[in-house]
């Protein structure tokens, strides 16, 4: 009984720790501390965003474009994410100059799998809502699900894998210059 309670408490604390990590990440993005955000990414991060197709309900396997085989909205690693941050810092990246205002909301955080190896890894799922407001009247709302694998590195949690499932078929925003 005591062991059960101990395990539940540990899981609760882990859950809280992961939520705290996600909130901190959102804070870094919304305050445009992109260099600090890069430190939360594992060197081997896979960051990809499939597209969603309108398919028959009996053909759900074709709903998402395939990882590492088909065209996606994004499909990259640390090198390209770092280039994106460097582009934002040039001051002449017109898509984000003047800067957009963003708010990242994260909710429904669940721990799908906890692997207590070395390093420790946790598969998570959550819902995201990213609001971007730009210039005078541009407003985009990106809502969807995120599947993250977080890894406990010596310096703290880092993101080893992120799959971003945006609930849109035709993208209703003119570009994707925001991180998710």
């Amino acid at each position: 009984m005591l062991a059960d309670q101990q395990a539940a408490m540990e899981r609760l604390l882990l859950h809280r720790e992961i939520e705290e990590f996600m909130s901190t990440e959102a804070e870094l993005l919304d305050s445009r501390r992109f260099d600090d955000w890069l430190t939360l990414l594992a060197p081997d991060i896979r960051y990809w965003m499939p597209m969603m197709r309108n398919v028959h309900s009996t053909n759900a396997k074709d709903e998402f474009t395939n990882e590492q085989a088909e065209t996606n909205w994004m499909d990259e690693g640390l090198e390209t994410l770092t280039q994106r941050v460097r582009q934002l810092a040039t001051g002449i990246h017109w898509a984000e100059e003047p800067v957009s205002r963003t708010t990242h909301m994260v909710s429904n955080v669940r721990l799908l799998d906890v692997r207590n190896g070395t390093p420790r890894e946790v598969d998570t799922s959550c819902r995201f809502l990213v609001y971007r407001n730009r210039q005078q009247d541009e407003a985009d709302t990106f809502i969807g699900k995120r599947l993250d694998t977080l890894r406990h590195a010596p310096e703290g949690w880092v993101i080893a894998r992120r799959e971003i499932r945006l609930d849109q078929n035709v993208l209703l925003a003119k570009n994707l210059t925001t991180f998710f």
Binding site: Q83, I92, H93, W94, L171
Partner: protein, 457 residues
């Protein structure tokens, strides 16, 4: 919507002096006329064979503002139909792609077949609920079949369609622009065809006018400066800039046809090899081998290269790096839906395809580090042109005015240097011809407009 009078057109487009009224980018009546005069008469890109590889596969596409179904019937014919039920207009097919023996309307249950074992003409009405009791013999199923596009052509995997049964053939429409399209579609080793589309089509909405996109890709080296941020960061496959080093390019336009590229003049020897994808040694080794094959395959035949191009009216493409097709679908005067398809050599090793795909996605599309800046410029060029005062002030297209010279070896082509707006002048002159309601013998004086159009087999 009818044509616009020649007098009115002259007030909108003055190609000789390089000015174009902002009205043609923001005016709803002009947009409505474009759907009829330009899009309903032009050869439009509707998809690629690779999207419908098997019998009865379909892909939901668009032509102008009309939704269409691109499909391959049981007999293998490639067909294009208006995606709207003939009974009450319901969008018949609401899936992006799939496989279907018949198209059945969800509203009242009418169904249509493309199978020649069942119907005389593909698209015929075959299923009508309550047919006997409700219609008796008064409903002519042939008369109420799906509207079928009369002209469909497959060209090196790409599929094109034209609603006008009087239209010239696709090859006449292309003219010698064909050679630049070939460079995009042919194998990198110079052999004919051999490219394929990577699965998944990027589709996204942008608040701009469709012509701004077309004129950007027709040969606007002048806007290179807008991409300094990505050039600084260096996303190119060799680790610097945004592409591997390129030989000098010229604005080359087809004055009578409305097409244009940034590309090279025809030449009959392959220039020395330049490292390609040097950041990926395995991929670089492949391109070195492919270069040798191209030298062998083409010998001293003439060949061309280009970076970008636009085929009138709304098909744009990158031939080299990246290698992609962009269709600009008109939604309203101030909104478009962009579709991007990405190309690779079908038989390239997986590592080559992977490196290409990653590079394409960081360059192009809504997440592309080059294209995002274009999208910003296209949006606000139109957004600041809607006001009454703005509309009094024309856009300026006078760069390299009067500098066009014929291109030996390409019929009807002119080149006007690297930094030029001759291709844009050509594009808007062509647009004005269509909008004033010219007939085919006026639009295509050099070709036999009655020539039979080659149907896809």
């Amino acid at each position: 919507m009818g044509a616009i009078s020649e007098q009115e057109i002259r007030g909108l487009v003055d190609a000789a002096n390089g000015t174009v009224s902002r009205d043609i980018f923001v005016n709803q009546a002009i947009f409505d006329a474009e759907l009829e005069q330009v899009f309903a008469r032009s050869w439009l890109f509707v998809g690629h064979e690779g999207l419908i590889p098997k019998p009865e596969d379909f892909f939901a596409s668009r032509m102008g503002k009309d939704p269409v179904i691109l499909t391959r019937n049981k007999q293998g014919e490639i067909l294009v139909f208006l995606n709207s039920c003939t009974h009450r207009g319901m969008k018949l097919c609401r899936y992006d792609q799939g496989n279907a023996r018949a198209f059945t309307c969800p509203y009242h249950g009418w169904s249509f077949s493309t199978n020649r074992d069942i119907v005389d003409e593909p698209g015929e009405l075959v299923g009508v609920p309550h047919f006997e009791a409700g219609y008796g013999d008064r409903l002519d199923r042939k008369r109420w079949g799906l509207a079928r596009c009369p002209n469909v052509v497959v060209y090196k995997g790409t599929i094109w369609a034209n609603w006008d049964s009087e239209a010239p053939s696709f090859l006449d429409w292309l003219g010698d622009m064909r050679h630049y399209l070939d460079f995009a579609l042919d194998h990198r080793d110079g052999s004919s065809g051999g490219s394929e589309v990577i699965g998944g089509v990027q589709k996204w909405r942008v608040k701009t006018n469709w012509k701004i996109v077309a004129e950007n890709f027709i040969g606007d080296m002048y806007h290179d400066i807008s991409h300094r941020s990505v050039d600084t960061v260096g996303i190119g496959p060799g680790g610097t800039g945004r592409r591997d080093a390129q030989r000098p390019r010229l604005a080359i336009g087809f004055s009578d046809l409305g097409h244009g590229v940034l590309g090279e003049m025809p030449h009959s020897a392959e220039p020395d090899y330049a490292p390609t994808f040097a950041s990926h040694p395995e991929v670089e080794a492949y391109y070195r081998k492919i270069y040798d094959a191209k030298v062998r395959n083409l010998g001293d035949q003439p060949r061309v290269t280009n970076s970008v191009g636009t085929i009138f009216p709304n098909m744009s493409f990158h031939s080299r790096q990246p290698r992609t097709i962009l269709i600009t679908h008109p939604i309203s005067p101030t909104e478009v839906e962009l579709w991007r398809f990405y190309l690779v050599d079908a038989n390239a090793p997986q590592a080559v395809k992977d490196a290409a795909r990653h590079y394409y996605l960081r360059y192009s599309g809504p997440g592309g580090m080059t294209e995002t800046d274009d999208l910003e410029n296209w949006t606000y060029a139109i957004g600041s042109s809607e006001g009454a005062i703005a509309r009094r002030h024309d856009f300026n297209y006078q760069l390299a005015l009067g500098q066009a010279k014929p291109v030996p070896g390409l019929q009807g082509a002119v080149q006007s240097g690297t930094y030029s707006e001759e291709n844009q002048r050509i594009f808007y002159r062509r647009w004005a011809q269509f909008m004033s309601g010219m007939n085919w013998s006026e639009l295509m004086p050099g070709s036999d407009a009655t020539e039979e159009v080659a149907h896809a087999r």
